[in-house]
């Protein structure tokens, strides 16, 4: 049972990572910086619980807010850069953040040992969960509480005007501007929201792995972050969740019995998926189907 709770935890955290990229992707910006924001959330959240003895909830919320601020600040220069140049710029920013933590030392003595981030050696002993007796199941529930909250918030936003505005910017910026949408505020807000979600996810990540280091937050994680919403499809938050389950649950875990072939299939299946369903696993058609099944009025 522990194994399934552990998988639930992992899928939850990665869904938050994916959703942080999703909300930014809605505005047409491909952000490879989400792993960097994830890292900020992780280090800040960890520092607050380990060095300042905070409870995890205020720690992760503060970490998320701080990350959102950083993301919003990044949002401004990102406005000047369009399309695929933004991919590179955000990739570079994410790497810059990782390198910042690589160079960051802040140790405090607790009893007779030093705790805190130590540059290349990482940040160890982030043991809020085990020290406070949280079982694997309780942690999984805790994580999913936040995941569901974020998903509901995004779903609700999508059904409201805000969602339409975001998607309008994503579809055609010039047209959106011509109907009076302020591009700057929309894009920066989306970046900020993405940063908040990534910060939340990162703070949780630090606590359920108990040890983080800069190399965890590199290009590979940044790629996973955008892979989830792209593979899942942008029409619906559920797409990202399905994609996380597909990648982490199926490709990584369930295919273990294939031994060495698993790693080869990983890349190959992604190529196949994108060729077969270029709009993602959960594209507009599936969303309409789902809506009809659930009894919502089918929109145009």
């Amino acid at each position: 049972m522990d194994f399934y709770y552990g998988m639930a935890q992992l899928i939850g955290v990665h869904t938050l990572l994916g959703l942080s990229a999703y909300v930014v992707l809605l505005t047409g910006q491909v952000s490879m910086a989400q792993a960097g924001f994830f890292a900020i959330g992780a280090y800040l959240g960890g520092m607050l619980t380990v060095l300042s003895d905070w409870h995890i909830v205020p720690a992760m919320l503060l970490a998320a807010v701080a990350t959102a601020l950083v993301a919003a600040i990044v949002g401004f220069p990102a406005l000047r850069v369009k399309g695929l140049m933004l991919v590179v710029a955000t990739l570079a920013f994410g790497e810059a953040v990782r390198l910042f933590w690589f160079n960051f030392d802040y140790q405090v003595a607790k009893g007779d040992i030093q705790v805190g981030p130590l540059g290349g050696e990482g940040f160890k002993q982030i043991r809020f969960f085990p020290e406070n007796g949280w079982t694997t199941g309780e942690v999984a529930l805790f994580i999913w509480f936040w995941v569901v909250l974020v998903m509901l918030a995004l779903w609700w936003m999508d059904r409201s005007r805000a969602g339409a505005v975001l998607r309008a910017v994503g579809e055609d910026e010039l047209a959106a501007q011509s109907v009076g949408i302020n591009l700057t505020s929309v894009k920066v807000a989306a970046m900020g929201a993405g940063g908040f979600i990534a910060g939340l996810g990162g703070a949780i990540y630090a606590h359920y792995t108990t040890h983080i280091e800069h190399s965890n937050f590199g290009v590979v994680l940044a790629t996973f972050a955008i892979a989830y919403p792209i593979l899942g499809g942008l029409s619906n938050v559920l797409g990202t969740l399905i994609a996380v389950i597909f990648i982490q649950g199926v490709l990584v875990e369930a295919l273990r019995f294939l031994g060495d072939w698993r790693n080869l299939l990983f890349g190959a299946l992604i190529v196949l998926a994108m060729n077969v369903r270029p709009d993602g696993l959960f594209d507009a058609r599936v969303t309409r189907l789902l809506k009809r099944l659930l009894g919502f009025k089918a929109d145009a």
Binding site: M85, E95, L99, N103, F266, G267, V271
Partner: protein, 298 residues
């Protein structure tokens, strides 16, 4: 005073070393920019395909004991082939209006190529042949690596050959036509698919040469090379201007030189942060890159 003089010399030496290394970055940048120019897509599997081609050329090196130049050539050919494979798997069948899908599928291809390399070599560093790798030209206080000079020279030759192909051959005209006006080009009877495929082959060959050059300059090939090369190549492409070949050349040399200078002054742990800052500087001051044109509505 003595210290200051040493510093100046060292800085100059760093710039020199960096410039020569930068020629490799320039090759990778050209490859990225070529694909972008023609298809307006990024092929994230490019650097991995380049390294993959270099690995493939090891077969010629190990089993046929071929001379270094032949190994480099076979690396280029192998990468051209892999490039075509990447085109088929990631770009040919996905509709052009889906840039995200092609991006993601090229990521999948990158992972796949990396895994194949790891499986075949068990992750071991593999020795790679070099020319003049024991030659060190000492000119005054400066030490210039003979092999890097050759690599620099080979890269220049490759770039010149590419420019010749692009501006003096039918294929080149077709490529540029498809890049500028895909619909009009098709109306003139130029097959978009064939041109795109051939572009991937050409850029693949350039990449293969770059992969071989990296192998030659380090002395060993390792799967570790693919990802950093991808990041650097993309940075070079953006600084140079997406779609501009002269831009990629200049930017490659620039990044190579600056990287080494940053490392000399601030050490290796902060070096890459400064390279990122260089990129941001360009994005703020000149977002279209050194030679790119200011883009209008898409």
């Amino acid at each position: 005073m003595e210290d200051f003089w040493w510093n100046v010399l060292d800085t100059a030496q760093s710039i020199l070393d960096g410039l020569m290394f930068g020629s490799i970055y320039a090759l990778i940048g050209i490859g990225f920019t070529l694909i972008f120019g023609v298809m307006h897509k990024i092929n994230l599997a490019y650097a991995a395909a380049s390294i993959g081609g270099a690995y493939a050329s090891l077969v010629v090196y190990v089993h046929l004991d071929a001379p270094a130049l032949l190994v480099f050539l076979s690396a280029a050919l192998a990468s051209g082939l892999i490039g075509f494979l990447v085109y088929l798997c990631c770009f040919r069948f996905i509709p052009t209006e889906r840039p995200l899908a092609t991006l993601m599928s090229s990521v999948g291809m990158l992972i796949f190529i990396d895994e194949v390399v790891v499986h075949v070599t068990a992750g071991f560093p593999e020795p790679y042949p070099a020319i003049f790798d024991d030659v060190m030209l000492v000119i005054g206080p400066f030490w210039i690596r003979g092999d890097l000079l050759l690599i620099f020279g080979l890269s220049i030759v490759a770039m010149l050959v590419l420019l010749y192909v692009l501006y003096r051959t039918q294929l080149g005209i077709a490529t540029r036509a498809v890049a500028q006006q895909p619909v009009a080009a098709q109306l003139c009877g130029i097959s978009r698919e064939t041109t795109n495929g051939l572009t991937f082959v050409i850029s693949g060959m350039l990449g293969g040469l770059a992969g071989a050059m990296i192998g030659a300059s380090v002395g060993v090939l390792s799967p570790l090379l693919a990802l950093p090369l991808t990041v650097k190549g993309l940075i070079v492409t953006v600084i140079g201007g997406l779609g501009s070949i002269p831009g990629a050349i200049v930017a490659g040399l620039l990044v190579g030189a600056f990287e080494n200078v940053f490392q000399f002054f601030r050490g290796v742990t902060e070096r890459d942060m400064y390279v990122m800052l260089l990129l941001f500087f360009f994005l703020v001051v000149r977002p279209q890159g050194i030679f790119g044109r200011v883009s209008t509505r898409d």
